[in-house]
Amino acid sequence: MSNSTVALSVIFAIVLISSAVGMYAGARRKMNLEQWTVAGRGFGLVLVWLLMAGEVYTTFAFLGASGWAYSRGGPTLYIMAYLTLAYVVSFFFLPQLWEIGKKFGMQTQSDFFRQRYGSKNLAAFASLIGVVFIIPYLQLQLTGLGIIVEVSGFGGIGRITAMIIAFALVAAFVFVSGVRGVAWISVIKDLLMLFAVFFIGLALPYMYFGGVGEMFTALVNAKPTHLTLPGATKVMGHSWYISTVLLTSLGFYMWPHLFGATFTAKSGNTLRKNAVIMPLYTITMPLIFFVGFTAILVVPGLKNGDLALLTIVRQSYPPWFLGIIGAAGALTAMVPAAILILAAATLFAKNFYREMISPGLTDDQVAKLARALVIVITSIALYFAIYSSTTLVNLLLIGYAGVTQFLPGVTFGLYWGRVTKAGVFTGLVTGIAVVAYLGLSKQDPFMGINAGFFALCVNFVVTLIVSLMTPAEANRFEQDPVSADQAKGSVQS
């Protein structure tokens, strides 16, 4: 058998077995909207931990982080900082969010806006923004999968073919299993990923330099400025670092899929405990960085840093081992992709289509529509994945700049009684407009700070001022759920 056949067979075998496990777990339960989206709110500490880890450690961490370590150096440190600090942030609002979600039976992020501000236009708008910024994150996963199949195929399979295969697998998987299936496949993914990362993170520096310390010494001698900021970039200095860490750690749980995952927990306190232990999962990240740093000296001159990890593995190990690493990478792309698709489809069907276009739909019809949308949303991401070429980390930062604009609406909604729907709406629109303007006119970083963070600051100020200028509104979270439900039909915005 040729090298590529061996590597690809190993990848496909592992992916198929994992998918079968996920589908089995999903197929055992009857799927209604509540089961499909929040798994009946029955997940304890371990499953929530696994589900969240499954969502967090995506192909961005695997290929993107090592890719930036390879191509940019110092600025990549932001990833370790934000992945730790995001859980610190979550400690202070996820348990409260869960309580509110439970009280009002929330399934999605837009349900939160709908309930708190009593405006279906605001909720529908929030769901559209959510879906739009999930697309680059989804594109990231498909691009990552494409890279994996391409490199493991030793050039035998084109990237487009590879991405179409990946697309079909992901869509089929989501279609059948829903959120419970995803949580179980996360178990396999996490074990494989941990093994892959610990092994190559330590073995590769040892193989080429005799140890991690020796590798860093060699790197510092060859490229003295690579490991400090701004590293191999011109614009990513300390103010960029601070603003980017703030944007991404504050915005982390503003991702509609992570926001929604909150509701799968059994209790608010599960989430509080989760926030204490989750930072430890970040300890795998330095090992991924080691691979990227090792690759600088071993496989120099790659045009696309995202290829660094797999290229050095391919050069250093036999094809079957490349297959195992590739499979770990493929699952770290597929599991989050499945969750992203699920979140986007549910948001659109429930909070946009039913609210704005066809209010008579039952929950079952919404669930059916969401399943059909799986194909549409994945196709859009596939289109972008094939026709654009941004690095994986940049794709993620685009998404963050967008979804973090939900932060004022969420934190004020929970903790500030004086906030009004006009304030949140204007703030959100302004924030997104600033992100779009600075992004499209290529002014990121803007005056040395992350453009998304700049937009977030503008958003907060606008939300605050407009809220104070508009008349006070009742806090709908303080009403009891029954009367709030009755009000749903009559409240117009």
Binding site: G74, Q96, I100, F216, L229, S267, P279, P286
Partner: protein
């Protein structure tokens, strides 16, 4: 661990927020202090050592914040039950 009684919506305490701010200062705001390669510690450049150390230290601070929050919630629930009949 026993279940913690909980009432809607409870703002986090300033004490817990203060504890949560410490990892932020260490990993984010203080970067100009630790963004350097030397000295190497345990074979790691100083900045990477610093970040890795704080990945390990952060859960300890969060465990402290957890105790502060759960103790406060339990105390408030007890006060409430003492005052009026439940619900």
């Amino acid at each position: 661990m026993k279940a913690v009684p909980y009432v809607l919506i409870r703002k986090p305490s300033l004490k817990a927020l203060g504890v949560g701010l410490i990892p932020f200062v260490a990993m984010c705001f203080s970067i100009s202090w630790w963004d350097r390669v030397f000295p190497f510690i345990f074979g790691l450049p100083f900045s990477i050592f610093w970040i890795v150390a704080w990945i390990l230290i952060t859960p300890l601070f969060m465990a402290v914040a957890y105790r502060i929050e759960t103790a406060r919630i339990a105390a408030e629930a007890r006060r409430k039950e003492g005052g009026a009949k439940h619900e």
